[in-house]
Subunit: 214 residues, 2 copies
Amino acid sequence: MSKIKVTNFTISLDGFGAGTNQSMKEPLGIGGEELHTWMFPTKRFRAMGGKNDGTEGIDNDFVEKAFENVGAWIMGRNMFGPIRGNWTDDEWKGWWGEDPPYHVPVFVLTHYERKPVKMKGGTTFHFVTTGVKSALEEAKKAADGRDIRIGGGVSTIRQFLQAGYVDEIHLAISPLFLGSGEHLFSGIDMLNLGFNNIQRIEGEQATHIIITKG
Amino acid sequence: MSKIKVTNFTISLDGFGAGTNQSMKEPLGIGGEELHTWMFPTKRFRAMGGKNDGTEGIDNDFVEKAFENVGAWIMGRNMFGPIRGNWTDDEWKGWWGEDPPYHVPVFVLTHYERKPVKMKGGTTFHFVTTGVKSALEEAKKAADGRDIRIGGGVSTIRQFLQAGYVDEIHLAISPLFLGSGEHLFSGIDMLNLGFNNIQRIEGEQATHIIITKG
C-alpha cells in the first residue's frame, strides 16, 4: 500500500529541524546545515553530488532507504529555494542543478502560481497553490501506488502531521544543539496522533528513530 | 574541581522531562514514569529498591556513574514530594522511605519553611526558601569539594541552566513521545549558554548524551 512518509528528517537535541534566518547562503538557516553532518559523508549522499566515495553502514543505509519506492515528493517552497513572494522569473530551478536527485514528480507548496518545470532524469516540479490536501491528491495520482515522501521543511511536515496524513516518520537525531530555529514537534501531540510505535537504531553519527502508528 | 551537574535526566523524543498533572499516584505526571523504563531494569536502580538483580551494561553504567562523587543534591519540592503549598505536618519524608538513596545532604527548593529532616544512611533534607543561588551556596559548603547534583525536576534544572550554574549534563533520550508535559529546553538557548561539546553514547534502551562547555 502506498504510504505517506517523512524520511531522513533530522532534528537537533533541542528539537529544531532548521535554523533561523534561512537565506541563499544558508538555506537551512543559521546552524541548520550542521544538523546534516551525519549524512554528508555517506556514500549515497556523495553520489547525489556525482562522487563515487563515502561511508557505508547504518547512516548510509538510511539515506539509501529514504529514496526507495518513492513515487512523488511534496515539499514547501522554502525547501525548493530561497525565493519568497512572487516567482519573478523562471530562473530558479531548485538547489540541485539540471538533474535533481528526485527522479519523480515533486509538488512544491506555494501561494504563487508557476508553470511546471521539467528537469532531467524524471524530476518535474509542480507548483501547488491550493494547499496540502490537494497537493496530496495530486501526488497520489502521480505516485501511482508508490510512496509519497514529505520532504520538508519543518512547516510542511507540521502541516501534514497535524492534518493526520503521515503514516511513517524516519527521524535522525543529531547530537548537537541549534539553540533556536524551527521546532518540529512544538505543540504537536504525537501520541494523540496515534504515533506510539517507535524503533531506535543507532547510526554511526546520528540516532535513527522509526515512528509508526501502532 | 567540584562540578555542578545534571545526571540521569531523561527526556522524550518531543523534549519533555515530565508529564502533565503530577500527583501522588503519578509523581512524574501522565506518562512521565514511562520515560524512565530504560533505567528500571538496571542493576543499580534495582539495588535502590533493595533488589539484588537487574541488567548490566551501558544503561546501568550511567545509573552507577550518576551517583559517583556526589557531595550534595539540589532538587525542586515537586521532586521531593506531591505536597503543594504549606507543609501541613512533618509526615512526608520523600519517596524512598527511611533510607533514601542519596546518602548526602539534599537541598529542597521550596517557598515554605520547614526544619531539616534527618534520615538514615547520611541523607538529610534541608529546605531552602531563598532561591537557587543560596541553595547552591549551601550545597557547595555541604559537598566539601565533591560534585553537586541538580536532581530535577524540569523547572529546577531550567532555573539552574538559565542562571549559568550547570557545568555538565548527562541526558538520556527515551525513544517515546509524551505528547505534552514539561519541556526541558524550550526557550533555553544551550549554544548561547556555551554547551557546544557533545558526546553521544547509545545504551541498550536509551541514547545517552553528555553535554559540557567546550
